[in-house]
Symmetry: C2
């Protein structure tokens, strides 16, 4: 390539797992990247309070600052990588960086979900890039696919398995017949779950990423608290087994869809997926995102969704995108400025198929009673599993239901729980068929 | 977005299935695309001899030329889309377009595989883009993923199911127990195979695409004739059944790999894939490409690999990439200018596991004889299937072998075919384990 080349001067804030990966990989792959993009990416300043961590990574002491404000104040930097996490300091960092004329690369989905609208408006105002490939699905280039690869498409739907911890736990519950608590304990032992597992297993992390994907697809930011979010803590082994009998796998999905009227639904919950569908074959800590475009049809993107190296791969791809055209400026392309007429659907409006499991007293007429309640709500039954039991004992009764609005299903479930032969709160799970 | 915007003036050569799709989709999605990239993509001239086809598509007569040379001679055009196919006229078209200062977008993998080196050198010389997202795997943004999303990665391997016709035929042979000829006839009836099926089923189309992927990954062009290419015409139903018994699916794979010494292997042949691997779940006309990077690990890209609309989606994404920064020029990023020290491995150097099926006379000592030949070549046996038969009858003998160099395996197969109890030419298939 050119013997003379441009240099992109980078400030790296945060030397955690991902920050360490970025530092390490930029060092080892810098020649390769220079060859490929015709520009050099050079980390000229690093901010982290933990000087021992910097030493461990081999970062020269003289470029380490103990405060990220030294990065935003450094007029020599072209880009700042925000990897400090959290939503307060990180917000200030990104805002100050953009205001001082620097591009920003971040992996912070929680921050984008909460304050993305404001941050992208700032980026737009200052005509700086705010790139975030690493915020969803680790090293899988899903953001680039949505923004660029599928630019000719109206996005009809996105279905994502985008939390590796949850997918690992559900995979182990299925493969090894573990209950949730056992699988969670194993995930912690294996390093696939944090000591405080709530962000992952209660679905919040998936919801943050869903908000980012929805903003990309539909151009507006949905406050995370408006987004229907169920995690996997209440998932029982027996439901995974019954689902398998019925030909389904159970996955925690982020579901983003639009209809002809441009109403958008975004929701996160455990979902039955047909076993023959490629999403059902995504196991362990892997992530996958299925995107349906109106021109291209279904495309799917699969890979490791977390970890220092995969995430570093995504961060570096964002740097390369900025560097490839540097120092010649390009138009900043930001999120949330499409004038799409979209509104968020309420959960009551959602239509889905359902799996319903009841614990019933095995006596004549129970199925008839349940079917009657469903029928009055116009909800059809497509199949039933009822294991043999002795008269007078309790037994599970598993029903697959036809399409129904969520509001009707909820009402039916409340009514069914009042039937005297129904001995425990009904369990229901939504089903996606991808047709 | 901006009320004033730039306009990318496009010439479209070829109004076949893909050309028609591009015309139609640029018309219906133009507002969406303008909103997203801040520039307008406008087809200002079209070349096709068939005026009736132009009318059928609603292309205004006054912009239709009967000769692509009118496009290359038109100094008003910024980009030409080459969709005339073939390797002679298309080569001249692209070369003239680049020389006259136009960017080029093409879907022509046969041409790139044959003359890519020369065309990209021309593009480089004139600092024009030559983009080709549509040349591999239809609408799946695999080219962008490799060039940009995975820019931080050395590519360790690529495994691709990149011919929908072959994958459809193999899927039907597996699912419906059809022989190759029956499945091919069905594929023709369904419109998934051409009247002349050779380009697809004999592996040539897959080889062209493999050459494009290899050039992207390793920066040099491999002449298609140097690339080991086997199609699926000789695949028998019984081998698909035995493979399934052993826990494998059979796929036509393009395999591209490098080793620590930067020797590159590129080959196309029917391959056994473990059933639990996500590639094995890719069925029907779908394509998938599995990329292993040294930073990101495994990522996979899945979708429809052919058809007017998916391919149009890819062509338009290339136009958008040019338009997004237009009229401000950007550095053209081309293929084949990386100074990687790579050489192509000969087929003899390949190491693989093998599936071997023999038709043998059922008499004592046959397995021992076969095992002895393999042992003298240092080839281990990992499992054997031998259906029961009556003494003196012929019966299949199926062996799964451990890793062996291709040259050793070939020599062993020749020797085994000389054993008097072996009654038909041995069938061998390579196995990929992805570990």
């Amino acid at each position: 390539m050119n013997s003379s080349h441009s240099i992109l001067r980078v400030g790296l804030a945060g030397l955690g797992t991902v920050g360490g990966g970025v530092w390490h990989r930029l060092a080892t792959q810098s020649d390769l990247i220079k060859q490929r993009i015709g520009a050099e990416i050079r980390v000229v300043q690093v901010a982290d309070k933990r000087m021992d961590r910097a030493r461990e990574l081999g970062v020269p002491e003289k470029i380490v600052a103990d405060d990220w404000r030294k990065l935003t104040a450094n007029s020599d930097l072209d880009v700042i990588i925000e990897l400090i996490g959290g939503t307060k300091q990180a917000f200030e960092l990104i805002k100050e960086a953009l205001q001082s004329g620097k591009h920003v690369v971040t992996a912070n989905k929680a921050l984008l979900a909460e304050r993305g609208a404001e941050l992208f408006a700032t980026a737009q105002k200052h005509q700086r890039h705010l790139l975030f490939e690493a915020s969803v699905a680790g090293g899988i280039p899903i953001i680039r696919a949505l923004r660029e690869g599928l630019v000719a498409n109206r996005i009809i739907s996105i279905h994502g398995i985008i939390n590796g911890t949850c997918n690992y736990i559900l995979t182990r519950m299925n493969e090894a017949g573990l209950e949730f608590k056992e699988a969670l304990a194993e995930a912690k032992r294996e390093g696939y779950a944090e000591a405080d597992e709530s962000l992952d297993v209660d679905g919040h992390d998936t919801a943050h990423k869903a908000a980012v994907l929805a903003a990309l697809a539909y151009g507006f930011w949905i406050p995370p608290e408006k987004l229907h979010t169920e995690g996997i803590r209440t998932v029982e082994k027996q439901d995974i087994l019954y689902a398998r009998k019925l030909g389904y796998g159970l996955k925690l999905l982020a579901i983003i869809k639009t209809d002809k009227e441009s109403a958008v639904e975004v929701r996160v919950h455990p979902t039955l997926v047909p076993e023959s569908h490629v999403l059902a074959s995504v196991s362990g800590v892997f992530n996958a995102v299925l995107v349906r475009g109106d021109v291209v049809g279904d495309t799917l993107y699969y890979g490791r969704g977390a970890g220092g190296d995969p995430t570093a791969s995504a961060v570096i791809s964002d740097l390369a995108q900025i560097a490839a055209h540097f120092p010649q400026e390009q138009k900043a392309r930001n999120v949330g400025h499409e004038s799409l007429q979209s509104r968020l659907k309420s959960m009551d409006e959602i239509v889905s198929r359902y799996y319903l499991r009841l614990l019933v007293l095995d006596r004549p007429g129970v199925l008839a009673e349940v079917a009657r309640v469903l029928a009055t709500r116009q909800i059809g039954i497509s199949s039933v599993i009822q294991p043999e039991a002795h008269a007078g004992e309790t037994t599970p009764l598993v029903l697959m239901l036809h399409d129904a609005p969520e509001s009707q299903l909820q009402a039916a479930v409340r009514e069914i729980s009042q039937i005297s032969a129904v001995k425990a709160p009904p369990v229901h799970l939504r089903v996606e068929d991808f047709d």
